[in-house]
Amino acid sequence: MHRIILTRLAQGVLTLLLASIIIFGATEILPGDVAEAILGQSRTEEALATLREEMGLNRPAIVRYFDWLGGMVQGDLGTSLATKRPVADMIESRMWNTLRLALLAAAISVPLSLALGLWSAMRAGGRVDKTLAMTTLALIAVPEFFIGLILMKVFAVELKWLSASANTRPYFDFWQNARALALPVATLSFAVLAHMMRMTRSSVINIFTSPYMEMAALKGLPKRRLVVLHALPNALSPILTVIALNLSYMVSGVIIVETVFGVPGLTRLLVDGVTLRDIPLIQACAMIFGAVYILLNLLADVLSIMANPRLRYPK
C-alpha cells in the first residue's frame, strides 16, 4: 500500500512539473518578451538591451525556467510588472478571501449533494429522482453568472435581505459577514452541486445493484450494517474522487463569482493580471491554482486507495 501511494505521489509531482512547463511555455512562445511589454511602444534599442540585461532575459529560456521554478519552490514568486510589488505580498493579502469563499461553499455543497444524491439513488426512477435529474440537467447548462445575477436581483436588489457586495471589512460582526457572503457562497455551491449529486447517485446505484450487495441482503443482514459496512467502503472512493474533482472545479466557478460579487480575491488578481498582461503575476497565480487542483486530485486518489483495499493491488 505504501508503495502504490508513493508512486501516486511521484505522479503528482511529475504532473505539477508538467503544469509548470505548460505555464512557463505558454508565456514564452509569444514574439517579444517582458522587456518589450514593460517599455511599450516608445522603446529604444539601447533601453531594451539594458532592461533585458537587468532582468536576465538574455539567458536561454531553459535557464530562466529553472530560475523561475527555483524561486517558486522557495516562495519567491517574482515581481509584478504593473505594481512593481512582490507578487507574494499581493497574493498573501487576497488569499484568505478566496479560501474562505471556497471553504464555505464546500461546507455547504458537499453534505447537501451527498444527501441529495443518496436520496435520488434510493428512489431511482421515481418522481424525486426525475425531478432532481431535470434540475441538475438545467443547472449544469446554466452559466454561473446567470445564477449569481438572478440571486443578486432577487435577494439584494428587490428584497434587500442580503448584500450584493462580498467585500467584507475587518470590523464587520458575524451577521454583517453572513449578509455579505451569503450570495457568493450560494452561487458557488449551486455551480458545483449538480455534478457532485449526479456522481454520488450513480456510484451508489452501481454498488446497490452489485451481486455482493444482493448476497448480503439475502443473508438477512440488517439494513444499517448493509449500508455502513458493505456499501460505504466501496462507494467512498468514487465519492471522494468526485468531491475532490468538484472542489477543483470550483477554481473556474470562483473566478466568475468573485467578479459578479466584487470579492477582492485571488482570481480577481489573476483576471486583472491577464487584462494588464502582467506575466509574473499570471504565472504565480496559475501555478498556485494548478498546485491546489493537482493536490486535491492527489488527495482523492490516496484516500480512495486507503478506503478501498482492492485499489491497493494494481492489476
Binding site: 440537467l137 438572478i150 455534478h195
Partner: protein, 291 residues
C-alpha cells in the same frame, strides 16, 4: 403491391421516425428560433449594434427600445439580435476546431497505436490535469485578447475531451469483427477509417459535438463576461452581461436578458442532446456526463 403499401405513408413517418418527445420539440423550437434570428438578424434588428438611440441610459423595458437601452443608450433588443450571431458563430468555430484536432489525433492514436498513442495521450493527460479555464487565462494573458487567440485557445482546450472520446471509440470499434474482416480483405488504413470506423462512431460523435458546443458557449461567454473575450463595440451575449451589470441596481434588466438568453440556448442544447442520446442508445446525457 406490397411495395406500394410500404411507400404509402412516408410523409407521416418522417417525423414519427425521429421519435420526438415534447421536451425535444420545445428545445428544438428555441434553438431554431435563435438560429433564424442569427441568420436574418441584420434585417430584423431595428437599429445597428453600436448605434446610440437614446440619451437615457439603462432605460427600462418598453422605453427607448422594446427591451430598453443599455449603459450607453444603445438598443438592447438590437444588440441581442446581433449578439446571437457572434455567440453562435464563435461557439461553432470553436467546436469545429476542437473536433478537427481531437478527432484526427484521437483516431490516429487508436489506429497507429504504439509510441504515437503514448506520446499524444500523455500530453493530453498533462493538459487535463490542469483546470481548463486557467489554461485559457494564461494563454490569453500571454497573447492578449483577440478573436483568433480566443477561438484557437478555447478550441484547443476543448479538444482534449474530444480526443479522449474519439480515441476510445477508435479502440472499441477497431477490434470489432467487421473491422478485422476488412483488414483480412486487405483494405488500407484510410479505407478502414473512413468506411468502417467513422460511420460507426457517428452517433456518439454527434452527441459529443452537442455537448462541446454547449460547453464552448458557456466557456466563451464566461470569458467575455470577465472582459477577456469579445471586445466592444461588437455585440456578444456574455459581453452584454458584463457591460450592464451595474444597471442591475438601477432597476435595469439589460444584464439579465442576455444572461437568460445564454441559459435558454445552453439548456435547450443539452435537452436536445439528451433526447438524441436516449433515442440512440437509451443512455441519457446525464449518464454521459457522469462517466
Amino acid at each position: 403491391m406490397s411495395d406500394a403499401t410500404e411507400f404509402a405513408k412516408p410523409r407521416a413517418s418522417v417525423f414519427a421516425g425521429l421519435r420526438l418527445t415534447r421536451t425535444a420539440i420545445f428545445a428544438g423550437g428555441i434553438l431554431l428560433f435563435w438560429l433564424v434570428l442569427a441568420l436574418f438578424g441584420p434585417w430584423i434588428a431595428p437599429h445597428g449594434e453600436a448605434d446610440i438611440i437614446s440619451t437615457k441610459t439603462f432605460a427600462p423595458i418598453g422605453e427607448g427600445g422594446w427591451l430598453g437601452t443599455d449603459k450607453l443608450g444603445r438598443d438592447v433588443f438590437s444588440r441581442l439580435i446581433y449578439g446571437v450571431r457572434t455567440t453562435l458563430l464563435l461557439a461553432l468555430v470553436t467546436t469545429v476546431i476542437s473536433f478537427t484536432f481531437g478527432v484526427t489525433l484521437g483516431f490516429a492514436a487508436a489506429i497507429l497505436k504504439g509510441w504515437f498513442d503514448i506520446v499524444v495521450s500523455r500530453i493530453v493527460e498533462a493538459f487535463m490535469a490542469f483546470p481548463s479555464t486557467l489554461l485559457a487565462l494564461v494563454v490569453i494573458g500571454a497573447f492578449g485578447t483577440s478573436i483568433t487567440v480566443l477561438v484557437l485557445t478555447v478550441g484547443l482546450v476543448l479538444s482534449t475531451s474530444v480526443f479522449r472520446v474519439s480515441r476510445a471509440l477508435g479502440y472499441d470499434i477497431g477490434v470489432m469483427d467487421f473491422v478485422e474482416a476488412a483488414r483480412a480483405r486487405g483494405e488500407g488504413t484510410w479505407w478502414i477509417l473512413t468506411r468502417e470506423i467513422l460511420p460507426n462512431s457517428m452517433a456518439p460523435l454527434i452527441a459529443e459535438f452537442g455537448l462541446r458546443f454547449t460547453f464552448s458557449i458557456l466557456f466563451l461567454s464566461g470569458l467575455s463576461f470577465l472582459g477577456l473575450g469579445v471586445q466592444e463595440p461588437a455585440a456578444d451575449w456574455g459581453l452584454m452581461v458584463q457591460e450592464n451589470v451595474g444597471g442591475l441596481f438601477l432597476g435595469s434588466s439589460a444584464a439579465l436578458i442576455p444572461a437568460a438568453c445564454i441559459a435558454s440556448l445552453t439548456v435547450s442544447m443539452n435537452l436536445l442532446v439528451d433526447w438524441f442520446q436516449q433515442r440512440q442508445q437509451g443512455e441519457t446525457v446525464l449518464e454521459k456526463i457522469d462517466q
